[in-house]
Subunit: 388 residues, 2 copies
């Protein structure tokens, strides 16, 4: 006894350093844009879910859901911050969708935000490490570049993987970022640029890593009954799955695959009742270049061991058979952690409306993928055009 | 088309300094106890909601929902941390109940935890201030004792309020705490003890303030269909309401009343379909002595201006007409922030089973109240015995 839920309004700040704006201001800007575009009256919004990861340690501000609702002049509704490390934004989206689908309310607001660039880099690294189980992994000196670097090393032992293949992922996403007006660091890079950039954590070089960022994104979701013909083109939510995986490295059976992604994708496709072959566009969690490769295989969209070669052959570029991260992804668009999962949906909605600045022609079905920690939390969402 | 949801298992650590245990260990202990008592198989648990406020700033550990689920050996289920300042635990409970009620799953686990006492007091104060809108209130030097001190001053201008009346609240809760084996600081206090304790923030003295604490509490919720006759006595959830209020002082029309509490109580009673006169026992958010007075009036349980006098006359003691905080409340049981809202329900379930160490005789209906920040978030829950 569920009902259809749609994205009827979207908003986003630019991603990247915004030294003159705090996290609350960023969140309000994105939310105001989404509400305005949706055309909905504030009184119709029945729940707010806020995705944020490390505002406490980095900005000294929590209870963001209530503060932002108050500033927006929303009614006296339940306002909840949710956290699941880098998947916080995707988790916020899923809960807003559940609130509308289950009839708790007819419309809900989702906001994701993070403010990071004001902090010294050592503090940022420490805050990001809140996403590991620090009784084992963090205390052993592990960082996230180290974690994904180990996955890279294992992957290249098992499959064919060249530096040039991985660089193709970086080149694609940085080039896509150039076409995205809200991206942090789109850039035309040569393989040489990438492969001579400084090591962050061998084999990971600077351009293999997403930048820290500031930013916010927001969405208004509404039940079918509230969709009007006058407003922005609504996009259908076909599925939203949230899963968990191992919390520490030793719990993973295989570092080349994250169970949480595999199971979230399987559940999402089952719910959406479409095949993987229907997906025209993917926004996935490329926190590092190697992550895009692992994710695309875990999602079941590219055969195991071929993710990097697909990028090298241009098959994941806009114009290829499976465009991945036309937004620039985390690598180029930036990764304001709590905003990322919401920002992916912002990009997807633009694509399915046909309004994206790096448009995938004829895109009818899209998938977003948001991964937290060392694979401990994941959300996969599937969207469709109403006429698809 | 909703279905009945019950608390079928409860667990809690002792509240108070636990220097040898981290937040994850505390949470696991409480959760294991709740699961054990419920008699449920882990595979039946379909969602985990984790209430926590400031684990990031104080312990450097986030993504607690996934970490704890992993350690408990729960299946691959959605695991979500929720945050709403001091109301985080109540918000976690509400979401677990929604998950079962709406049919997302048949059973859900709620955990609330906080680990505070290892931090220097200045760091704790700074972390607690994450619950204010720091663009206005925090930056002006406001702290929570200061905020509630202002409310006290306004209240005593408006109504009759003596130091002896407020001390009666403190004496009652500290004495109740003596009877609670998991309370942090039950104590037999004279009015003189209270009134000669050092000022924290005039008019607030030491014993008017709840202590910082470590601790965790957990609950297993299940749909009616899963309730068996063999396990612990199930307690019915009659209502759960979550609301928001003003995020900053200047937004409150009246500092003697928190809109979020008033509206949450009204919604909860409407959902529970019982009158206020049916409530036999209350666990409410007495972060400060004055807060118990304000809360009891905002909940509509005691007429305006009479909350303190009711305490003085013993009407809110166990054996009185409306026992408030027989557990000792935050003042004596302690306030490990994210655990508090869950711990209140732990106490209520013991009472409605007839198993509490400070039992209210014949208690059939109870209410729990959890308030966040300067009134920005609130949950009110109502429970009933199955035979009531």
């Amino acid at each position: 006894m569920t009902r259809g839920v749609n994205v009827i309004g979207i908003g986003s700040t630019r991603f990247g350093p915004q030294p003159n704006k705090g996290i609350v201001q960023l969140a309000i800007e994105a939310a105001e844009a989404a509400i305005r575009e949706s055309g909905i009256e504030r009184e119709r919004i029945g729940a707010l879910y806020f995705g944020n990861f490390i505002s406490g340690p980095l900005t000294g501000q929590e209870v963001l859901a209530g503060i932002v609702a108050d500033n927006l002049g929303l009614p006296n509704i339940p306002c909840t911050k949710v956290e699941g490390a880098c998947a916080s934004g995707g988790i916020a989206f899923r809960h807003a969708r559940l609130a509308v689908e289950s009839g708790q309310c007819d419309a809900a607001l989702v906001v994701g935000a993070e403010k990071m660039t004001q902090a010294p880099s050592a503090m940022i690294t420490a805050a990001l490490n809140c996403a590991m189980d620090n009784r084992s992994d963090g205390v052993s000196g592990l960082t996230f570049p180290g974690f994904f670097g180990m996955a890279w090393r294992l992957y290249e032992q098992r499959y064919t993987l060249t530096r040039a293949q991985v660089s193709a992922v970086v080149r694609k996403n940085k080039a896509n970022g150039l076409l995205n007006p809200i991206a942090q660091m789109g850039r035309a890079l040569s393989d040489e640029d990438i492969e001579q950039s400084p090591f962050i954590c061998d084999p990971m070089r600077l351009f293999d890593c997403c930048p820290t960022s500031d930013g916010a994104a927001a969405l208004v979701l509404a039940a079918d009954e509230l969709v009007t013909t006058g407003g922005a083109v609504p996009v259908r939510i076909l599925a939203s799955a949230q899963t968990r995986g191992a919390a520490r490295i030793a719990g993973h059976a295989d570092l080349c695959s994250f169970d949480a992604t595999v199971s979230a994708a399987n559940r999402a496709f089952k719910e959406a009742k479409i095949d993987r072959s229907h997906i025209n566009i993917v926004e996935l969690h490329d926190c590092f270049s190697i992550a895009e490769i692992l994710d695309s295989e875990d999602l079941g969209l590219i055969p195991r061991g071929q993710g990097a070669q697909w990028a090298k052959e241009g098959r994941t570029a806009v114009g290829g058979e499976l465009p991945i991260n036309p937004s620039g992804g985390l690598l180029a668009k930036g990764h304001p952690v709590g905003a990322t999962g919401v920002g992916q949906i912002y990009e997807m909605v633009l694509q399915l409306r046909g309004d994206h600045s790096n448009q995938v022609k004829g895109a009818a079905f899209g998938l977003t993928h948001n991964l937290g920690g060392t694979g401990v939390a994941c959300t996969v969402n599937i969207f469709g055009r109403h006429d698809a």
